[in-house]
Amino acid sequence: MSNKEKHWEKTKGNMFLTLALWFFFGYIIFMFGESLNSASFLGYPLAYYMCAQGSIVAFVIILFWSANRQEKIDEECGFAERGEDD
């Protein structure tokens, strides 16, 4: 397997993992909103909390985490950009 193919396999893996987390926080938990709301967090009903803050914060964390992971993959396969850093 060439370096490019390896890189793309890993990139795809990262994409699927990221989207799995996204699907959990964006959809799965709201399928069970009704039962989730009987639990509470910081005094808020849980489903309400996830909607107002929880999932949104999770999305931000997922984005940074996934971007860092992808940077490592690029580095490993020798496709990291040099000299043009932000």
């Binding site: 910081l42 309400y48 984005l63 940077e71 932000d86």
Partner: protein
Amino acid sequence: MFKGKFIDNLPKIYGTYTGGFLVFIILMAIAEQAGMTAKTIGILFVAFTVCIYAFIGWMSRTVQVDAYYVAGRSVPTVFNGMATAADWMSGASFVAMAGGIYFGGYTYMAFLIGWTGGYILVSSLLAPYLRKFGCYTVPDFIGTRYGGNLARFCAVVVLTLASFTYVTAQINATGTIAARALAIPFELGVWVGLVSILLCSMLGGMRAVTWTQVAQYIVLIIAYLLPIFWISNKGGYGFFPHLMLGEEVARLGELEAQFGLVKNAAADVKAAGVPGGLKSISLPHSEVPAGGMAAWKFISLVICMMVGTASLPHILMRYFTTPSVKAARKSVAWSLFFIALLYTSAPMLATLSKLSLMDPNLATGIIGKDISAVMSIDWVQAWTAQKQAFIADFNGDGVLQLNEWFMRGDVVVLSTPEVAGLPYVISGLVAAGGMAAAMSTADGLILAIANALSHDVYYKIIDPKADVRKRLLVARGLLIVIGAAGAYIASMRITSILGAVAWAFDFAMSGLFFPLVLGVWWKRATRQGAIAGMITGLASGTAYLIYVYPKFMGNPAWLGIDHLRFGIIGASVCLVVMVVVSLMTPAPDSSTQKMIDEVRIPTGKTILGKQH
């Protein structure tokens, strides 16, 4: 002045700017104490901020193609994040979101999830690859990846339809705010708003829009957060509202049970003469509605808003401006961080303002009190006089019930400082924030349309030999034409016919999502497939909208997919048609395959040259 050094100095420049803005707020507060009228303060706030944006726009003028279309690809991640956040958060987000939560509670909050989660799709499926491609516009990618002018043209059509649906609402919002703050008629306010918008974008294109959007983000986030923290601390609800309003949310549940959530019959509302667009609270704040259908309605709305986010060109094109592929990816994360600051605060604002009106134990509470007493409150009089609020005593007992208090959603943000008894300077600040939010989104949208028409239609299809001077002239001319068309439609006040902002997301996802994503992720996708997908996706989505929208044919929604969710139909048709047609036509040639391989790795040259 705007090269090299300028980029290095950005934190300092915007730091000084933020400090200057805070000083301005303090000066206004002092002037208010000294007796300056509310009207003058409002005018000063809006005029001062708009002049700064115009100044930035003028300083960023350019005669270079890549500076005009992609800000020279030199915008650092964090600043691009701020600019995207301002681009994203429209006048509607700023003034209407808290109002939406106020009336719709948990059900409405599907928008919060949808309008944030879409960025994960942007980051993992699209932004880094489009950046590597090196395109100027979104149709530029479609046109080059699939080849041929027809594919490019279809993408331009979808882009224009989606963005234009969105832009009239934004110009409408700038008009409303300008009219209120400057005390001029709405029709004039719309044109004042348009001139302000064009001042920011005309001379410098993307570069000017980028730097004004950063400035606008700073104003809008201060204007949103300051009142929330102030009210929360003043009312003793906790010094950090986001973590400390649990009890207040629970209290709202108690009050809802005490007053009862009554949905007024449409006939009663009409008979009582409630002005259009005003609503009363009839949905619970934090309770999740029971049943599978309710859960599906929540989730289907989330799907539409998320997928729509990932297909809206004015957002995607912001990631063409970063210095590298890596920076584009990080920049998406920063964008959502800055957006989250406002979005996680909106429910808190809704909670606080709802409680301050509903709790009879509070001095500000009006529900459950005598109507005659309520009618003598200053802000109630002011807002009822403007037909933004209304009292209808349905049961005739002289006491204001929850279902007898009507209000327009926008009022929640605009009136909360006043209701909570904050100084007027905060209301002026909120007006400036709303103006910033509406202007920044309008700028991004108008630029997206004008760039697609000037680059993809004029330069790539009509006159590929045009020189730089001519291209930029056309680009600027189109900016004025599109802005004027938007302002003209907004000034006719027919936006209620044009429908909801959500439509823009549905149009975009119907026609663009799968052609964009499969263009990167599926090598087998062919030109014929993409064209067929875009056309059938957009056509079927639009047809379903006409079929289901109450003001058009008004048929019953199929599986709960109503006019806010028609993108589900459009995008599904687009996907199926695109896959089937692609498989029926010969695979793309080897040079296209190689191009896709190149797009998938961050290093190496961009596919399209620096100037093209």
